[in-house]
Amino acid sequence: MKSLEITVVKDFNPHPKGRDEKDVPPDGKGTGKHFRESCLEPAMKKHEQVHVTLDGYNRYGPSFLDEAFAGLIHSSGIPPKEVFNKLTYSHSTLKSIEDVIKSRINSAATVYLQKNIENNQE
């Protein structure tokens, strides 16, 4: 299938928060890691384009956003190129959230590329 839109508050959890099960014990339900593993990664595997809509909630924490989006690179090991090509996201009233996601993904990509360079040099 070509493209998929995920609305976080409808398709995942109305009050997403935290990074992982340490923040929301015992099972990490509603966290960034849970979102990435249960929604985002499967979508990225099956579809050419994935758009994440963050509307409907204004309290996304930086921990959630980092683990959900940048975690595709730093935790799931998906190459940055694939993430940049496939993934888009939006929040119609909070552009600052889009900026945070962009910044976190870029940082994760930088570290990924640096590690690759170091590994190649070895």
Partner: protein
Amino acid sequence: MKKADSAKREIFLRLASKRHAHEQARKNVTYHERKSYLPHSILNGHLIEAPESISIYEAGSENTDFYIKTLDFIGKIEKNFAKKICKIDFSRTVHMSAAAVLTLCAAMTRARNNGAHKSIIIWSERGVVNRMLKAFKVGRIAKNQTPRMDVDWSRQVQIVSGTVVGNKDEEVVDYIKQKFFRKEMSPDQELLYSNAVSETILNVTRHAYPDSLYRDKTWWLIIEVIYNEIYLAIYDVGVGIPATVVKKKWFENTFKSKFPTQYREFMDKVKEDGHSSKKELLSSNISDSGLVYLSMMGDVSGEEESNKHGQGSKSIKALVSNTDDGHLWVFSNKGLCIYTGDETPDQIIDLPAKFPGTLIQWNIKFE
């Protein structure tokens, strides 16, 4: 008619005689207005006198008496409350700060978990002090009850307590949104307040209690509104920032950046001492106040791994720096750091007595 008058007179004399006998019998007896119906055991309970001013803000001033006396009082509560019958005497107390109330509330609720003895409260003569005490239901805690500390929409002062379980942080932001912004909070404001509250609470559950089960990782929060300012403080009785900050991956870089001279001296010591770990040496060579300050700096290198964290303090600083005369106070163990904006240097203060746990307080002005 004469017979009726005589009967009335007889009754009158009988009653007067009885009254006189009763007065004579009560001549040397002392009565206590409030305590007359209390059990003897409580009347003779262990007396804990609260100081005139229950406040910790003076820790950074020349006169630290209020701070020391407040901590001493809280220490007595921790040691005695609920373990024995106590009389907690607030009669001399004329002032109580929000932050100190939080530490007192935590001390009493924790002590209550370890004992079942009832206590009595001798209330202050100041209504403002009693209102603060009633906000955290001190009377009920004294009576061996464990009242729920949820958001109470009827109160001006909110004291809320929770653990990592549940959504109380959301309720706090809802309260701020509805009570102070009257539902006219912009999405950006909502995000900022939410990050400041939620990320700080998440930090408590992540770092403050490394050896505890998640349901025991308790935090206490107070919100008070004075005119157009919100005073908000979050408190935990965990291991303290100085114990945890040295373990962060970004710590050494920040230490090197902010205190280059001390960092060079530290590295010389590391070379001399081959036995201790670097982290142990870091803890013993930097004061608690320095460690608290560095924790507020967070990562200064911009490296990815370390940049994931430290968002709570960034959000709070953003709120404080946008407020005229805004302050952020961070008490932890023997350190205090006060932030008033990026334009002025932080105050780094060695506390005269160890503060139990970590308290973060900030004030924000709103329109």
